[in-house]
């Protein structure tokens, strides 16, 4: 039995409590929209196959979490924009689906702060009032799409059109989903639900030494400490994946995807040749479900994706 199969720490109660919604508000990611637009497309394709309609709003702005955690704005701005952004789905009567670990973590943490701390709530309420918007009441639910996909794993399995037989896939879970220990469906230390999804798609999950190492890119250290810490860290991570024979890696965060995909060019140029395409989990699922490959936006990737997926396209 493979290492990841010997013990599952997935919380069955939390999975059972997840909804199978018909309709969700899709919270758009700035990084996703710009760096890997195929992810957003893939989320919609998978949603459609599972009967989830995603609605967006042109009024939704950046979640402001990145600028907050780079210490580049007054923290009150992040509270106010969370309050404002979440009042949009609240007015629509919808819960929220997010496909970026960053947006997910910031929205949840800031919504929690708004909800639990009267001083923070006042900042949010004052902002919404000044804009003529409803007060943020804090009752709507925020889901990451990856957990909604896992919830309907059986249905996904039945929908597979391109079984990914023999493809060695490894996970980069991303820290800002798993760190939400109060709601995350899997263990923060050794999660396995992505591996279960790969198996359902017919692929061969691979675990590698640094699978729980972070991408190195959150809070902008890629700009301030790239040489000092970020590049050595990513090099270490990607080389450990290469050593394990990983052919493809998935992420659940466009930010992580940017770090792990784009930096391979520099890592290779500096003498550690590595070429592991990195795509979003939703892109992988959409591909296995038969979505036209040109709809998945793999052109955006620095490390070419098609060489490993080509053989599954009829």
């Amino acid at each position: 039995m493979e290492e990841y199969q010997r013990l599952s720490l997935i919380d069955p109660q939390r999975v059972a409590n997840l909804p199978t919604p018909d309709k969700l508000f899709l919270f758009l990611s700035c990084t996703g929209s710009i760096e890997y637009p195929g992810t957003e497309r893939a989320v919609r394709i998978v949603g459609e196959k599972l009967g989830i309609e995603f609605v967006e709003s042109v009024d939704q702005t950046c979640c402001t979490g990145y600028m907050l955690t780079c210490n580049a704005v007054n923290p009150q701005l992040a509270l106010a924009s969370t309050s404002r952004n979440l009042s949009i789905p609240q007015e629509m009567g919808l819960d929220v689906g997010v496909f970026c670990n960053g947006c997910y973590g910031y929205l949840r943490e800031l919504a929690h702060l708004l909800h639990s701390n009267p001083a923070f709530k006042e900042v949010g309420d004052k902002a919404n009032e000044a804009l003529g918007r409803e007060k943020f009441r804090g009752h709507l639910k925020i889901y990451h799409v990856q957990e909604l996909w896992y919830k309907q794993l059986e249905k996904l399995t039945s929908l597979v059109k391109r079984p990914l037989t023999g493809l060695k896939i490894a996970a980069h879970y991303g820290c800002h989903y798993l760190a939400n220990k109060d709601v995350a469906i899997d263990d923060a230390q050794y999660p396995t639900f992505h591996e279960e999804i790969y198996k359902a798609l017919g692929a061969t999950p691979v675990v590698y030494k640094e699978r729980r190492a972070c991408c190195g890119y959150s809070v902008g250290r890629g700009f301030t400490h790239r040489e000092e810490t970020v590049l050595p860290h990513i090099t270490n991570k990607m080389l450990s994946a290469a050593a394990a024979g990983v052919q493809l890696m998935t992420t659940t965060c466009p930010g992580c995807n940017t770090a792990l995909d784009r930096e391979q060019k520099t890592i290779t140029a500096r003498g550690n040749a590595v070429s592991i395409p990195v795509i979003d989990l939703s892109q992988l699922i959409a591909f296995a479900l038969g979505a036209p490959v040109e709809q998945l936006g793999f052109k955006a990737n620095t490390t070419p994706v098609l060489p490993v997926l080509e053989r599954f396209i009829k």
Partner: protein
């Protein structure tokens, strides 16, 4: 060099953090070192040590924190928080510490690179939208081929509202202050291994050994 003086410590620091509403209860820290053991930054740059930073805060050694280069290294990956037996939300503490340091005029060089994103986000309500026309064309072409709008656009109303948030939360003023405040020269420096040395030149230029 002189011995560290406990009389120089200040309890105000811990109090300020407790009232910030972000990272209360750091006094729960049992200094077990699990955070540092899993920290990807400490693994590469061991003078950054989350456990020791918590101790500095608890003891009130705020001067050393304010002038620390190390605090700016944190990846904010939250592996520390995910493993902490005392449920300390270290990333939020770090967020606070960095703002605290900035309020003393330190750390600007680690914040400056992001001000351009903020300026752009204030105009477009989206972060990271590139400015270079060639890159924009690339994105437009790809997004259009996927059936998405050529660029991720926030409505005019959305942008107006976002800009209003900059106003009413005092962010515009905050940014103005930030840009007008010069970086305070630092007169302490640290060697790897956290040995305190006096900087004789008092120039603040040799902060890292």
């Amino acid at each position: 060099m002189k011995r560290e003086q406990a009389s120089d410590w200040s309890l105000e620091f811990e109090k300020a953090i407790a009232t910030s509403g972000l990272a209360d209860d750091i006094s729960r820290c049992i200094s077990c070192g699990k955070c540092t053991g899993v920290c990807p930054v400490a693994a590469i740059s061991p003078s950054y040590n989350p456990r020791q930073i918590i101790r500095e805060v608890l003891l009130g050694n705020y001067e050393r924190i304010v002038q620390s280069e190390e605090i700016w290294r944190c990846f904010w990956c939250a592996n520390c928080a995910a493993t902490c037996p005392s449920e300390i939300k270290y990333p939020l503490l770090m967020l606070y510490i960095r703002y605290f340091s900035m309020s003393h005029g330190a750390g600007k060089k680690h914040v400056d690179p992001f001000i351009r994103f903020v300026t752009k986000a204030r105009q477009e309500a989206v972060t990271f939208q590139p400015g270079k026309p060639a890159r924009l064309d690339e994105i437009r072409a790809l997004r259009s081929s996927l059936g998405l709008s050529p660029l991720r656009i926030v409505s005019d109303d959305g942008i107006r509202e976002y800009q209003k948030l900059f106003e009413i939360t005092g962010t515009d003023e905050w940014l103005k202050n930030y840009q007008e405040t010069p970086e305070v020269p630092i007169n302490l420096s640290y060697l790897e291994g956290r040995i305190l040395v006096q900087d004789d030149s008092n120039s603040g230029s040799e902060r890292e050994a």
